[in-house]
């Protein structure tokens, strides 16, 4: 009886330790991809109906997952795949074709490279 209890405890501890190790190991083996955020200052954002064209043009860029258009701030935030093939030139063209002007461009991918 004592041997059975002792064995059970050993197995439980081993399973617990193994679970933690497995989870840690799983994280090390397949880390979640980091999101890339491109923050743009866009001039001319005076009405949401007109800004719909900007949404259409930017969402067509490769790798774009989500787009936030902040009218009051005059900003556009593009959430893209970390390896998305998007350049400043692509964004500038999309903004111009929509009838607006790109004033500032900041890419989180460039900031990480510098670090």
């Amino acid at each position: 009886m004592i041997r059975i209890l002792f064995s059970s405890w050993i197995v439980a501890v081993l399973l617990f330790a193994g679970g933690i190790a497995t989870a840690t190991w799983a994280e090390d083996e397949a880390p979640a991809p980091e999101e890339r955020v491109i923050t743009c200052e866009v001039d001319g954002l005076a009405c949401p109906f007109c800004a719909f064209g900007l949404e259409k043009k930017i969402k067509k860029l490769s790798g774009v997952k989500k787009l936030d258009i902040l009218m009051k701030e005059g900003q556009v935030k593009i959430h893209a795949e970390s390896d998305a093939d998007i350049s400043k030139k692509d964004v500038e063209k999309a903004v111009k074709d929509s009838g607006f002007e790109l004033k500032a461009y900041k890419d989180s991918k460039d900031e990480k490279s510098e670090q």
């Binding site: 005076a46 900007l54 936030d68 009218m71 929509s98």
Partner: protein, 286 residues
């Protein structure tokens, strides 16, 4: 009738009865259902007329500064003269319009623009039903605006002229000018429904039409409204002023806009003049 020369452009907030400088984004397409009801009266003779127009319009953005538009209306006109009522209905003239944004200045939350526009009204409408008089119409104009996230200010001037109709008469030239202030009472998020209120002031100088036949004199004129040519210096000039409270409601890529135009000054009263005019449009852009 003047709006028959003017496809409603679907790219931006702009007044209901006059143009704004915005076009549509490059390769953007917009469709519109444009509806108008007008009631007119000749105070001198007591004749009345009511007109109902339902049109479909389309606009395409060739570039971010150049847009092409088309408009095809269907009209129903009820004319009452001497207690006798006549109803005419049918397809009205097809019109085309080009808008070219020649100057633009942008800043945080605002956009200034100046746009040239020109268009044609083609004599494709029903002649038997007196919806069209068979003349080709031309429009050219200039529009400018400051569009801000909180307020708007539009100004435009349009000149309409026509060639001779099938009955030999020529509708008179029209010079129309519009001044429109507006406000957005609440600035919401991009994905929120959006409301803009405008007060449009519309002025019209119209020359009397030249007519070559007595039959033409009896026919209610459909195009241009006025008579004669400013350039030729013939005909009498009527001057009317109207005010139109308007609302533009949009959500994402859909807009409903409408207004009521009410004349408050009419220099000459020996012709048909608007008592009121109501317009309501539905616009969807892709």
């Amino acid at each position: 009738m003047l709006l028959g020369l003017f496809p409603a452009f679907v790219s931006a907030h702009e007044p209901v009865f006059g143009p704004g400088p915005r076009t549509i984004w490059k390769d953007g397409v917009g469709f519109s259902s444009q509806n108008e009801w007008a009631d007119r009266e000749n105070e001198a003779t007591g004749d009345t007329e009511s007109e109902r127009t339902h049109a479909v319009g389309m606009v395409y953005g060739v570039t971010d500064r150049l847009a092409l538009g088309l408009r095809l209306p269907y009209k129903t006109i009820v004319h009452e003269k001497g207690g006798v009522s006549e109803t005419h209905g049918g397809m009205a003239d097809l019109s085309t319009l080009v808008k070219w944004n020649v100057w633009r200045n942008t800043g945080k939350r605002y956009l200034d623009g100046v746009t040239l526009l020109g268009g044609l009204r083609l004599p494709t409408g029903e002649r038997e039903e007196n919806i069209s008089n068979g003349s080709t119409g031309y429009v050219m104009g200039l529009t400018a605006a400051r569009e801000h996230l909180r307020y708007y200010a539009f100004a435009s001037a349009l000149y309409f002229t026509s060639g001779p109709g099938s009955d030999g008469s020529r509708p008179g030239d029209v010079l129309q000018y519009n001044l429109t202030p507006g406000i957005r009472p609440r600035i919401g998020a991009y994905t929120d429904p959006d409301l803009v209120l405008l007060a449009e002031f519309v002025g019209r100088l119209q020359r009397a039409s030249t007519s070559r036949s007595t039959e033409a004199q009896a026919v209610p004129r459909r195009n241009g409204g006025g008579v004669g040519s400013f350039a030729e210096g013939v005909g009498k000039t009527d001057h009317t002023l109207a005010v139109a409270p308007e609302a533009l409601f949009s959500w994402r890529n859909v807009m409903i806009k409408g207004g009521v135009q009410i004349p408050f000054l009419d220099v000459d009263s020996d012709r048909m003049e608007d008592r009121w005019r109501i317009a309501a449009d539905l616009i969807v852009q892709f």
